[in-house]
Every structure is written in structure tokens, then in C-alpha cells.
């Protein structure tokens, strides 16, 4: 049976989209059938990453204007992945963003049912992983994604506001829906003495992991240092495909392994 994973965060700029794309890439490279869906309707990014333009978007699917088959792009051949690699995009036009932010509660209720229905559909098609990339905070689309998923990955940085927001979301959102939740600490600042591409030592990871477990009270799925060159890299570069030996790609690989076992 496939696993539905939501990548979420309390605030923006934590690196959700970058991690979603690279995690999906790593899993597809390992031979898993993966479907990556951009549910960040307020600030869509996937259309830039995959350089795609389409007639039907996930917005249309949630609006019941089309079926999921019309939305999904099969990128297996483009990236030569071992498993199937599908993506579904959010409409980046200003009109669509405005429309999505004006939907009423009844529409959101139907959107939740639509997302929940995906699970059965993907089970029939032998999809191993559905990954939802979401908007930060408590937005309708993001909470719908959380409710529809098996596992929630909360991406957080070491910023105090981020940590505070993550803590309250664990209590008020993820635990309320009884979701399996884990933390992915991103952009971990290394000591100044180390060059920016240095990996975190095992001792550093263990000590940080212990502190985080005490702070959040939930498992730590991974830690990714702040790599300056990743921040400078174009959004269209998927390191897990184009530079799998990069320490960032290796860290995502480790995270994907933990996710598989979670």
C-alpha cells in the first residue's frame, strides 16, 4: 500500500519545495513510483522547477473540472528514473491564486473529499508515494493535505519563531488529527570554522537530535545543513538528479530512507 506524505512548515522559506522535489526524485531513482503534487496554491513553484505549462492544473482537479489523469505529467523518461515519476502542478496565474483564496467552506470540504479520493486511485495504479508540497501555516489547502496524508514532515529551521510555530502546530494540528509526524531540520548553521560544504558530524547530529526531540517531543526525520551553493543554485536544478553526489542530495537520501521506515 502506498504512502501519502505531506511536507509542511509553520512559516515560509524553510525549504519545503526544494525538499519535496528532491525527496520525490530520490525515491523515483530508487525505483519507487512517485507522484509529487504542488498544493501550494498561494505561491506555486513546481511549474518553474519542471519548466512545464499545462492545460489542466490541480486547481481544475479540485474544482471538479477534470480528472487527475489530465493533471499529471509523466516525467519518467525525461529524468530516466527507475520508478515512475509523476508531477501535478498548481496554477501560477494571479487569477487562479486569487480564486483559490476566495473559496468558501463548502468548496474546501469538497476539495478535502477530492484529495482523500486520490488514495484509492493511486492504490489502483500502484503508486508507492504521493508527496504533497504545501503552503506554510494553517491554510485550507495545507490542512486538507495534512488530513489526507499518512505522514507529515514538518520542515523547520533553527529560527526561534519557526521553532515556536512548529511546536504550536504539532499540538494544535498534527496531534489533533493523529498524524504520524516528524521534524526535518533544514538550513542548519555549521560552526564558522567549517567550510560551507562540510557534512554534519555524527556527534553534531546526535546532540542536535536529542535537543530537538526534547523541544518537540516527536521523532526527528533528518537534518540538512545550510549549503550556500544550494541557495545560489537555480530553482530548475534538481540536485538529486543532476548532482547526486552533492552533500545536500546525500542528506535528502538519508531523509528518504527514514521516511520509508516511518
Amino acid at each position: 500500500m502506498g504512502k501519502v506524505v505531506t511536507i509542511h512548515s509553520s512559516r515560509g522559506g524553510t525549504g519545503k519545495s526544494l525538499i519535496s522535489v528532491n525527496t520525490a526524485a530520490v525515491l523515483a531513482n530508487k525505483g519507487k513510483n512517485v507522484c509529487l503534487l504542488d498544493l501550494d496554491f498561494r505561491a506555486p513553484t513546481m511549474y518553474v522547477v519542471f519548466k512545464l505549462s499545462t492545460e489542466y492544473w490541480l486547481n481544475n482537479f479540485l474544482n471538479r473540472d477534470c480528472e487527475i489523469e489530465n493533471v499529471l505529467y509523466d516525467l519518467t523518461q525525461r529524468y530516466n528514473t527507475k520508478g515512475k515519476f509523476f508531477v501535478g502542478l498548481a496554477d501560477p496565474s494571479m487569477l487562479a491564486i486569487r480564486e483559490m483564496s476566495m473559496k468558501d467552506r463548502k468548496w474546501e470540504m469538497k476539495a478535502l473529499q477530492r484529495l482523500l479520493s486520490l488514495r484509492k486511485l493511486f492504490e489502483e495504479r500502484k503508486i508507492d508515494y504521493i508527496i504533497f508540497d504545501t503552503s506554510p501555516g494553517i491554510q485550507y489547502a495545507s490542512v486538507n493535505a495534512v488530513v489526507s496524508s499518512d505522514t507529515v514532515v514538518v520542515v523547520t529551521t533553527m529560527d526561534a519563531l519557526d521553532i515556536q510555530g512548529t511546536r504550536s502546530m504539532i499540538e494544535d494540528l498534527y496531534e489533533a488529527f493523529g498524524k504520524k509526524t516528524g521534524i526535518l531540520l533544514n538550513k542548519v548553521l555549521l560552526p564558522y570554522s567549517l567550510p560551507s560544504l562540510s557534512p554534519l558530524t555524527e556527534a553534531d547530529r546526535e546532540s542536535l537530535s536529542k535537543q530537538l526531540k526534547e523541544t518537540f517531543g516527536i521523532p526527528i526525520f533528518g537534518m540538512i545543513p545550510c549549503y550556500c551553493d544550494v541557495l545560489r543554485t537555480s530553482r530548475t536544478v534538481i540536485l538529486a538528479f543532476q548532482n547526486p553526489e552533492h552533500p545536500f542530495a546525500k542528506d535528502v537520501e538519508k531523509f528518504a530512507e527514514v521516511l520509508e521506515e516511518a
Binding site: L112, L116, Y140
Partner: protein
């Protein structure tokens, strides 16, 4: 008021009187807030409609069971509500299969959700189906 005053002066000291009045005042406040709550819930359960207007079974207005509403539900009802959202239309036994709780427990929770107007109920032969409003 005069009678109360007489009784009070006969049996209680001035200190006791102020204590008793304070307690009465607090109790009245608590009572008022409870009445407000009851009135608020009545407003929600019985929707306003024109005098003489009849509502057929299929027209019963339903509250939207969106995620924010789900968050506001108590934990035990939330689990049932999420299950019925996923199943769309199901019997108490189907929901029990999803939540891992007893059928009788789910039947009770589903009926509570029906009373709260979040879901609807329909009998088909011997089975009772619950569903989120269409």
C-alpha cells in the same frame, strides 16, 4: 427583596451577607452564560426559515464539514468525521472498520454528527447509511 433583607439581618452578620450576595451574583453570571450557550446552540440546530415553509428530508441544510470545522470538534467526533469524509457514504460498521472502534460507539458518534447537522442519515432497506451532504 424586603423579606430577604429581614431574614438576612436576623440570621447573618453583615460580613456573611456580602459573602452570600457575592456567591449569588457569581451563580447568576454562570447561569446567564449557560443560557447564552444553549440559545446559541439552538440557533445553530434549528435554522431560521420562513413561516409555513416546509423542509423535506433531502433539503435539510447541512453545516460544512471542512477542515477548520473538523479541528473544532472534540477528538472522539473528529476521528469519526474524518472517516466519514474519506468514505463519503458508509454504515456505522464501515466507519468502525476505518477507525478501529466498536460499531456501537461509531453509531453513537455518527448520530451526534447528524444532530449537529454535519452529516445526514438515510435508511436503505435494513441498513442505515451516513453521508456528508451532497
Amino acid at each position: 427583596m424586603f423579606t430577604i433583607h429581614c431574614l438576612v439581618t436576623e440570621t447573618l452578620s453583615r460580613k456573611d451577607v456580602s459573602k452570600t450576595l457575592l456567591k449569588v451574583s457569581r451563580d447568576l453570571e454562570a447561569l446567564t452564560s449557560k443560557v447564552d450557550l444553549i440559545l446559541a446552540s439552538q440557533k445553530r440546530v434549528v435554522p431560521a426559515r420562513a413561516i409555513g415553509e416546509k423542509i423535506t428530508k433531502n433539503q435539510i441544510p447541512c453545516e460544512a464539514l471542512d477542515v477548520m470545522t473538523l479541528l473544532s470538534l472534540p477528538d472522539h467526533l473528529r476521528k469519526t468525521a474524518v472517516a466519514i469524509c474519506a468514505l463519503r457514504s458508509a454504515t456505522a460498521a464501515d466507519v468502525a472498520g476505518e477507525t478501529g472502534r466498536a460499531r456501537a460507539v461509531e453509531s453513537n458518534y455518527l448520530n451526534q454528527l447528524v444532530t449537529m447537522k454535519y452529516i445526514q442519515r438515510e435508511r436503505k432497506g435494513k441498513k442505515v447509511y451516513f453521508y456528508v451532504s451532497k
